[in-house]
């Protein structure tokens, strides 16, 4: 061990004196590394004190990608994990380097599976450079050198050198383009439940979220947007509030909002509440939830619909069936409700823009800031901060644009825009509202001979990215139901289609997106079919998944762990379901009881997942647990309804979410079958709802087909 190794330990321990065990726990305080001449390719920086800094292009919003991506790189590097930390690549650096760090967009559970190949190659390339440099120093063949735990070793002579000692030499070498990646048996960090790299600062209030940014001369802004979607700002009377404490100015923002800029945000918010504003509410003001429901209902019967999947002939299959079962399901709009409300800090000075932003897509933040500022892309600097929740909401950059538009009207001074919770709830890109009509035919033995699922509802792509529509078809609407995803391949006659029915309400990507509703529709309906066929819901699914071994294996894993079929305490009932989405297989068993008065208690969840390779089992478990909170919050309570063209709900009192007391015990079963990299952050949400809803049916005989659950009386005899 080199002297500086001891030095580093001393300084490290010095900064966290009296911690005891800090090193053993393996945490590091993330800090921007001074790359200097210690940069080994673009992903790895190794300091003389042996600290390995892994650069991360995706955004950390709680899902653990900061840690997971670092594990991938560190494993190929043969780093000592205790010396590893992570830092963001900034979008302006990415732009200046021809997007060398690839896609920054963080959504679709793509953090790991979308970057695994190139980040691992980055780690392997850095390792090769370290070996080459050491072999040159010792004048031995590189092939005689090995690496382990941050040390290069020449096996024959026994000589060793730490990465920190050889990194400066290695950094001068060309970055190899051809590298061999490890095989899964060689992994030492991938697959380990190492602790997160970002935990420590989140325990002490030291984590600086974007909402916490404080800059010299900073002003603060509060915003009011036209409550009706599509409406505009007509006028406001700034004179009425200009003398209120702290108020600096009142500015229009785009054509649909007005912001008060003040010394403190609370002053801005207080003054904004007193500001007389007149809106042009527009045609949207005539729309309410009942009208939207009628519009969608029409789509269920419409002749024309976009085709998702078809084989056989559903109509003749239904005509020949011994029994036909039909059901209609519906899901409302949902808000994301990230704990940290939308915010962005922006500074416009000398024709340049700088922003501090919580973003799921740094590249998109940069582009939005450039457009709003009227500056070139190269004149924007983007500071990414960890997100206080994302869930898909922060892929959109409306708040980034607004912050820059406001800052441009107060040039030279940074302005922090924070939305109130009320504004955040009222101006989301909501999970789309959909309805689904399912029809299925059973033969005399209770086998499904035909199934038609007709979706009707809003298209995310039509609203956010019309160019991605394919001849009027929104492929995302069919998530989990495409030919490659859908597990029930034994159905001879199948038709899945979608009547696109758009409204003026903004829609977007909500953690799990359409897998959530689609899985509820399909998995609850399959339960209905099993019941109609007089068969056990597990056995019924097993037969239908005969041609889908991975779907079946995960279903079986959940059923076994939950001891499906084994008697439960009196009053407790089970429900089961499975789904595939985001490249991973999931299944769940829920155990619930419902009192005669209708009080629901979810006692236990067993959730199985096959993500191919499991990078960090501890974080997969955390995501699975969290998926039940997010998914069950939606099923139990979630609804944004529309009256006079605007959201009715405004805060957690009217948009309630699950709290700790309602949290069931979630047992996670990870069954990685290898050979692929599946997502983790989203796929399990899809099975949260149907498992519980099917268990409620078992407990009460009541089939819940419209959400949220709180609209229903579960009282039973």
């Amino acid at each position: 061990m080199s002297n500086k190794m001891a030095l580093r330990r001393r300084s490290f321990l010095g900064s966290v004196a009296a911690l005891g065990g800090g090193l053993a726990l393996g945490w590091r305080v993330p800090a921007f590394a001074d790359a200097g001449d210690q940069e080994l390719g673009i992903w790895v920086v190794i300091s003389p004190d042996d600290t390995v800094t892994v650069r991360i292009a995706r955004s950390e919003m709680g899902q653990g990608t900061f840690t997971g991506l670092a594990q991938l790189v560190a494993d190929e590097l043969d780093a000592d994990w205790r010396n590893v930390q992570a830092e963001y690549v900034s979008p302006d650096e990415n732009l200046a380097h021809k997007r060398a760090w690839g896609d920054m967009s963080t959504g679709g559970s793509r953090g790991i599976r979308g970057s695994v190949d190139y980040v691992r190659k980055g780690g392997a390339a850095a390792r090769a450079m370290l070996i080459t440099a050491a072999s040159m120093l010792w004048d031995v063949p590189a092939a005689e050198c090995t690496t382990k735990l941050g040390v290069v070793k020449h096996e024959k002579s026994g000589r060793t050198i730490t990465y920190g000692d050889i990194a400066a030499d290695a950094a001068k070498l060309p970055v190899p383009t051809e590298v061999t990646l490890k095989t899964p048996e060689q992994w030492t960090i991938i697959g380990k439940g190492v602790r997160r790299l970002d935990t420590f600062q989140k325990l002490s209030g030291r984590q600086v979220f974007a909402i916490d940014v404080q800059l010299p001369d900073m002003l603060n802004a509060a915003i009011a947007q036209c409550p009706v979607y599509g409406g505009t700002l007509r006028s406001f009377s700034a004179d009425k509030i200009k003398s209120m404490p702290g108020v600096r100015t009142v500015v229009p923002v785009d054509d649909n909002a007005v912001a008060v800029v003040a010394d403190k945000w609370y002053q801005a918010k207080t003054a904004l509440a007193a500001l007389p504003i007149v809106w042009n509410e527009g045609a949207g003001a005539m729309v309410d939830s009942a009208q939207i429901a009628e519009l969608l209902k029409g789509g269920l019967e419409a002749k024309e619909a976009a085709l998702g999947q078809k084989h056989g002939d559903v109509e003749s299959g239904l005509a020949s069936a011994a029994k036909v079962i039909e059901a209609m399901y519906a899901s409302p709009y949902l808000a994301h409700a990230t704990m940290e409300p939308m915010n962005c800090t922006a500074k416009f000075a000398d024709g340049k823009v700088e922003i501090w932003v919580p973003s799921q897509n740094g590249d998109a933040s940069l582009a939005a800031a450039a457009e709003a500022g009227g500056v070139k892309l190269g004149d924007v600097k983007v500071n990414k901060l960890h997100l206080g929740g994302g869930f898909g909401r922060r892929g959109q950059q409306d708040y980034t644009r607004q912050a820059v538009l406001i800052a441009k009207q107060v040039p030279g001074r940074p302005v922090k825009l924070i939305w109130t919770r009320e504004e955040d709830t009222a101006h989301d890109f909501y999970r789309p509202i959909t309805q689904c009509r399912l029809r299925a035919g059973l033969d005399a033995s209770g086998n499904v001979v035909a199934l038609h699922a007709r979706l009707s509802g809003q298209s995310i792509l039509a609203y956010l990215a019309p160019s991605r529509m394919e001849n009027g078809v929104d492929r995302i609407a069919f998530q989990s139901w495409t030919e490659e995803e859908f597990g029930y391949k034994t159905i001879p006659n199948l038709l899945i289609d979608h009547a696109v029915r758009n409204t003026h309400v903004p829609v977007g990507f909500w953690r799990g997106v359409n897998t959530n509703q689609n899985a509820i529709y399909m998995e609850c309906f399959i339960d209905e079919l099993a019941n109609a066929a007089g068969k056990d819901p597990l056995e019924f699914r097993r037969a239908m998944l005969a041609k889908s071994p991975k779907h079946l294996a995960v279903l079986n894993a959940a059923a076994e762990k939950a001891e499906w079929g084994k008697p439960l305490p009196a009053g407790v009932f089970r429900g089961i379901c499975q789904n595939y989405g985001y490249g991973s297989y999931t299944a769940a068993v829920a155990e619930v009881s419902v009192s005669p008065q209708g009080a629901l208690k979810v006692h236990r969840i067993v959730a199985a997942t096959d993500p191919g390779y499991a990078v960090n089992p501890q974080q997969i478990e955390a995501q699975v647990q969290g998926s039940f909170v997010y998914g069950l919050s939606a099923v139990l309570y979630g609804e944004i309804s529309i009256a006079k063209g605007r959201a009715v709900q405004s805060n957690f009192d009217t948009y309630p979410v699950m709290r700790l007391a309602e949290m069931p015990k979630v047992e996670t079963v990870i069954v990685p079958s290898g050979g692929f990299w599946g997502g983790v952050g989203e796929p399990t949400i899809a099975v949260a709802g149907p498992a519980v809803l099917n268990a409620i049916f078992a407990a009460t005989g009541k089939r819940i087909r419209t959400l949220p659950l709180r609209q229903h009386d579960l009282a039973h005899a």
Binding site: Q201, R206, Q207
Partner: protein
Amino acid sequence: MIKLTVNGTTHEVDAEPDTPLLWVIREWLGMTGTKYGCGIAQCGACTVHIDGVATRSCQVPAGSVSAAQIVTIEGLSSDGLSNPVQDAWLRLDVPQCGYCQSGQIMAAVALLRSNPTPTDADIDTAMTNICRCGTYQRIREAIHAAAMSGRKA
């Protein structure tokens, strides 16, 4: 001017007396560990201790607590780890996004100070702060772990 004693230090603050304590802590004192989540005392992200009682600071007028001892997450321990609740949170890797965790930790410390060995039912009753990432199961485990440590929260 409002007088406030936060983490043992007394400040004179030039804010309106009806300004919520949350915003005085964040904007006038520049301590940002205490978070804004809802502004209506629903979510608990702004939880601080006022004379030892876990309190949602977004609904407390700063002018009403001049005589009180206020403790924020920054005042819980000097190194951010040595309180047994923080230590348990670290060992169980509780946070995900982390935004609600200051409030969760402040609520958990207050619970353990009044009830050093809480049952699950006690935890259900005391821990009503919202976490959207869904860390509830680990929060529960960490509170039990902190209680088992035998150290005073």
